[in-house]
Each structure stands twice: as C-alpha cells, then as structure tokens.
Symmetry: C2
Subunit: 386 residues, 2 copies
C-alpha cells in the first residue's frame, strides 16, 4: 500500500520550510540533541496503542531521578510549561481559597494571575525583580497569610534569581498548606530535589534543562498532593488540565482523555534517555562548571552579573547591560550575524539585562568560549569598551 | 562548536525508541506524510525569532482555504483538539450565560462538561448517538432556549454522524447568539465552509483530516466572534487559552505569551503545504470517492453502516458489529497481525460499531482494498460468515 499523498499542483506562494541555523543561548528554547530530532521523526502509533502507553510510562519513570522524586507521581501535560502552571493552579487552588505567592519576577506574577482567574484570594509578598526571600521572611509571610496553597518560582526566568524552597515548604506544611513550585527553568539543569525540598506540585517544560523542543509539561506530585486531589469535591475549572482525568489516562486505567502529542512524547523519552546516559549528577556538575567559567570570563570583561553570587541560577545568567549600550542592537547583531539567540530583560528589567542560557549541549567551556567571543565582538561594535 | 552531548554511560533499563509500524485506520491519529516527519525533525529556532513568526503566519494563511474562511481570523492553540474545545468555551461562554448544545454523541457531552466548568447554564437537546437534528428542530430548540452561545459537533467522532450547521447558525444569529462548531474530525477531509455556514468559533486538531501528528489545535474565528471577544469585560477562566493574549502573540504584536511548540508548527506548516499542493477541492473529492467505494464494498460483505446514508461522515465510517462477533477480538487481531489500528465504539455504542477512518493518505481505493482484505480475514477468524 502507498501512504504518500500525490502532489498534483505546486504551491508557489510559499517557500519550503528551511529554518535558519541558530545557536540558542537564550532562556529557552535551547539546543536539541540530533538523537531527539530523530525520535521526533519516528512514525506515530495511536494514543491508546500498547506501545504508546509504554512510552508514557517510560517517560514517567525517567522523569523521577531528574525531579528527585521517589514518593509520589510524575505525569506529563499536553501543553507547554505555561499549561503545566495552569494545571497546578486549576487543580489545587480552589475558588475562595487563599493563595500566597512569593512575587519577585514575571512568572510569579503569572501564577498570581492564574490563581485570580481560578477565583482565589491572593496574598502577595513582593520584592524587586532579582531579589530572593530569606528563610525567616518566608516563614513569617506564610504564618501571617494562613494560605491553603503557597506558590513560588524556583528559578525565575525573568531575573536569573534562584529561590530555595526548603523553608517555604516547611512553613507551608506547618500551616497545612500545599506548595506549588515552578521548576520551568531548573528541571534538568540543576537539582530540584522534589522530595528533599518538600514540594507538593512541581511543573516544568521540555525546552530548557531537558534539551527537547517545546510542547509538553512534565509534572511531579507528592503523595500529599495526590491525596488532596482525590479528596477534592469541587470540579477543576479546566477539563483539559484536570489531573484526575489525566492521571487516570496516563498511569491507571489508560482510558481515553485526549489524544496525546505522540511525537513530542517520543522526543521527550529520547531527551530523558540522553540525560540518563550522561548521569544526572554529572549533568548538574557540567552545568555548574560552565556557569562558573562563564561568570569568571564575564567579570574579566568588566561586565557584572545582575544577581548576587549566592542566588544565581547556573543555567540562566543575567548580565547587566553596560551603560551606553543598546541591548536590542547587540541582540540583533548576534542573531543576524553568527545566528546566536539571547534574550533581553522585560518589565522592570527592560534594557537592563541580557538573559543568557547555558543549558544542555551548550553547557561546556568550549561553547561558552564560542559565545563570549561573539558576544564581545557585538558589544564592541555597539560601543562598549571594557 | 559542538552541540552533541556526551554519552558517558549506557542506560540498560530502557530499549531504544522503536515504534512498531502501524496502519492508522482509526478515527485519528492517522497516517502522516514522510515530508511532515522530515519537517518535524528540522532544527528549531526561538519562539520570537522572525523566522518562527513567519511560520505562524504561513500556517494561519494556509488554514484559511481549508476552513473556508475569508472574513475573520485563524490561529493555533498550543494543545490538542480538546484544548481547542476548551479555548472556544472558556473564551466565549461566560459564567452565568446560557449555553445551548446539540447533544448526540460523546464530544457534545464534553462541550457541555466544559461549559458547566465555566459556570454556564446548559440547555441540552438530546438525541441517540448516531442521529442528527433537522433544520426545523434546530431552529425550534434555539428559539426556545434563547442562548448566548450555541454548540454543535459537525462530524461526531464517536458516532460517525455529520450534522450540517447552516440552520443552527441562522437560528442562533437570529437569537443574537454565537455559534461554536466542533470541526475536529471534519477539517481537511471534508468541507467545513466556515463563512458559508456561518460558524463563529471553530476548532479542530492536527491528527485527523490534516494528516499531521497530534499536538496543536487550529481555530477559526468570525469577525463577529472577534468583536464580541474584544468587548468582553470579564476575564476568561483560562490564562493559557486566553484568545485575546494568543491572538496578540500570534498575529498582532508578537509579544510573548507562551513558548509555542516550534517543531509541531513546522510539521503543521508542511502538512498544510501538502494539502495546498493537492488542492483542497480535489482532496475532498478523493475522500468522498474512497468513502463511496468503502461503503459499496462493506455492503457487498453483508455488513451495514450505523448511520443513514444522508448523514455519514465520509472520513469516519461506523460499521455495525455483526451479531455474534466480539469487536475487541477483531481489533486485537488486526493490531497484532497486520498492524492495523481501528477503534471500537464506546458509551451507548460500546461493542456495537467499528470506527474506521479513511483520512489523508489512506483515502484511496488501493488503501481501502488493503484494509478490507485484512478486515474480512479478521472477521472470518472471529466467526463471521457473510
């Protein structure tokens, strides 16, 4: 039998798909291993096929060491990291409940916004973009707010600041609250330590630390979160992201809920295999080494980091834009010249920082050198004198 | 520079990804052109890269002739067809508003369920699975219900019945209501005629009539729907599916909303190119021819179709399971032998129908012959004597 369609006419309006070669040094998406692209292009099977059910289960297992979860469940949402965030909120933040959020960047604001749309009362602890919360501040805020659910962002993509979760989780559990931890930029590139930290609901994406194209959102759920969810009597406002139904489809009865993005699961499985083969601890150490080397070189160029040393995300560096330099022009030069993508700041950090990712295949001294050579040239061309 | 990760240890728990070869004759996912798989494996660029913005715009343009829309907008949701359904409901069905639904199958029940979760009052016109609504019945129901939004399923995947939308849309507009039309199983395989029918909000998937892997949901919105949306003062319960934000990202300012599934957009663009090259009218006629041939052959095997001739979906055939035959055993035999996937019925049609898709590359006489030869063998092996 033939499964190739006939092409009876040429379409002259559109050019064939030919994406330009990019070096993705931004906050994500980042570079993808060729093995993962090969997995993406494997022929699909049905979403209820025994082979695909096995692929979903493999992905769930492979995610566990990356999240650092042994007690609880992993599952994958058929949407991007933002869908994972909405799944966390829509399933665990009930209308009328109190949601306390540590607000120090764009993504914690997004968490607030989603909680508002789910009918929650929001308590916000606000700090400037790039700052973090001390253990004592965190405990104090939670004691004061008496929330049902607490939200924080582990690695804040908009600022480059890393927020430890231990004190937040301990205080929240003392108050009888569940904790949602945004791990979009941390998962796969640095330790999340889900169990050890005490997170109840974590979500992430595929296109940052996991080195896979965007399109899925891996979640981790503590036993406490699962028990709470099973006992919830009101319906989540989202059917598409209803974790009771998705958990049943993906891990229990395998009863149809929606048609999962088969090819993206193929890619994610392969990306997780690449990580497993490298070894998760070795991978984290490789990212830390690349980060230290990057910072040393940046400082030797008389540039400075936006976030204090103790609170930096190793995989996402925010470098302050030097005085007199137009960051947009530097970024344009990098993209149009060597094809390097980095990001600028936005919101309160617009024009003030470059956001430079060193994730997955890019987290090597060799690739940092390649980047800095081009970055330095672009800065000089835009008038920077180190 | 090198972008390939080192593989320092072998992962011995898991086998390499090697999906079995399947002939996807079910209701979807269906067969994908090799060109589309090649597009999937192209290296990605960033989600704000000028190249990707162009890809999104190409996809929007290529969708227009497939939907039959000239006045209004097309855009693509970063989730599966069910996410498209939830986007339609969460954006256009406000809490407290009246939602009237034509309920004759599983997917209209899902529409009801989503509307309930969005706080609507639901009016249901129920019929048995496989039946359809006459023009007079449709108009009468809408006059009686006085809804703000009307929902119907164009091609009901659970039953094989096709519901024309002209009378529904005319009556809804007379009543000042918007119309949501589920085109998940129709788009790309048969005419949707969005403008001509008068639909306001249509959604679909990629893995059926568009012959692409699952993972995205293409939407069409009338000018009336866009105007209504712009005037809406309450917030949609979903941030991820907020069409004001998504429309702005994908067609107006290109301001960041979420990281779109780049590779899936590459695939969808290529799938739409394949359709444009064949010619949409030729494609529809090819599907009709394959369907007529299929029905003729099925009847010559003394089997019968579940849906009356006038109301059949040409791309999704529901064949009644003959007395004494266990449909699950037939399906298992097809999957494990020649690797053919078809689906069974569920809900009130469990055990009563086979659901056989003839979509995209499979909609040819040659492929119908191949399928029926294997189907006939499997039926005989399970005791059927024609």
């Amino acid at each position: 039998m033939s499964t190739t369609s006939e092409h009876v006419a040429t379409q002259d309006l559109l050019q064939p798909l030919q994406p330009p070669k990019r070096y993705l040094f931004g906050p994500g998406p980042t570079m993808v291993d060729p093995r993962v692209y090969r997995a993406l292009s494997k022929p699909i099977v049905g979403h209820l096929d025994p082979y695909f059910i096995q692929v979903m289960q493999d992905v769930q297992e492979l995610l566990k060491p990356v999240y650092g979860i042994q007690n609880g469940s992993t599952l994958v949402i058929s949407g991007t990291g933002s869908a994972g965030m909405e799944a966390a909120v829509a399933n665990f933040v009930e209308p009328g409940s109190k949601f306390a959020v540590f607000a120090n960047g764009y993504f914690s604001d997004r968490l607030s916004e989603m909680a508002k749309r789910n009918g929650a009362n929001i308590g916000r602890f606000e700090k400037a973009w790039g700052e973090t919360f001390s253990d004592a501040e965190a405990a104090d805020f939670i004691r004061r707010e008496k929330p049902s659910v607490v939200g924080y962002v582990h690695a804040e993509t908009s600022t480059g600041a890393l927020q430890p979760g231990h004190a937040i989780c301990a205080a929240a559990h003392d108050a009888g609250a569940l904790v949602i931890g945004d791990c979009v930029t941390s998962l796969g590139g640095l330790p999340v330590e889900f169990d050890k930290t005490g997170i109840d609901i974590a979500y992430s994406c595929t296109q940052k630390g996991l080195s896979c194209p965007p399109g899925l959102s891996p979640l981790a759920l503590s036993q406490r979160a699962m028990d709470w969810l099973r006992a919830r009597t009101t319906l989540s406002r989202s059917w598409y992201l209803d974790l009771k139904l998705i958990h049943d489809y993906s891990t229990v009865s395998h009863r149809y809920h929606h048609t999962a993005p088969i090819s993206m699961f193929h890619a994610l499985r392969e990306a997780l295999m690449v990580i497993a083969e490298e070894g998760i601890e070795k991978r984290f150490e490789r990212h830390r080494r690349a980060h230290r080397f990057f910072v040393k070189e940046i400082e030797s160029m008389s540039l400075s980091m936006h976030v204090p040393e103790a609170h930096r995300i190793p995989t996402l560096n925010t470098v302050s834009v030097p005085k007199g330099v137009d960051d947009a022009k530097v970024r344009k030069r990098l993209l149009e010249g060597p094809g390097i993508e980095i990001a600028g700041g936005f919101g309160p950090l617009a024009g003030k920082v470059f956001r430079i990712g060193l994730m997955g295949p890019l987290a090597t001294e060799e690739n940092v050198r390649f980047f800095l050579q081009e970055f330095s040239k672009a800065l000089k061309a835009e008038g920077y004198q180190s």
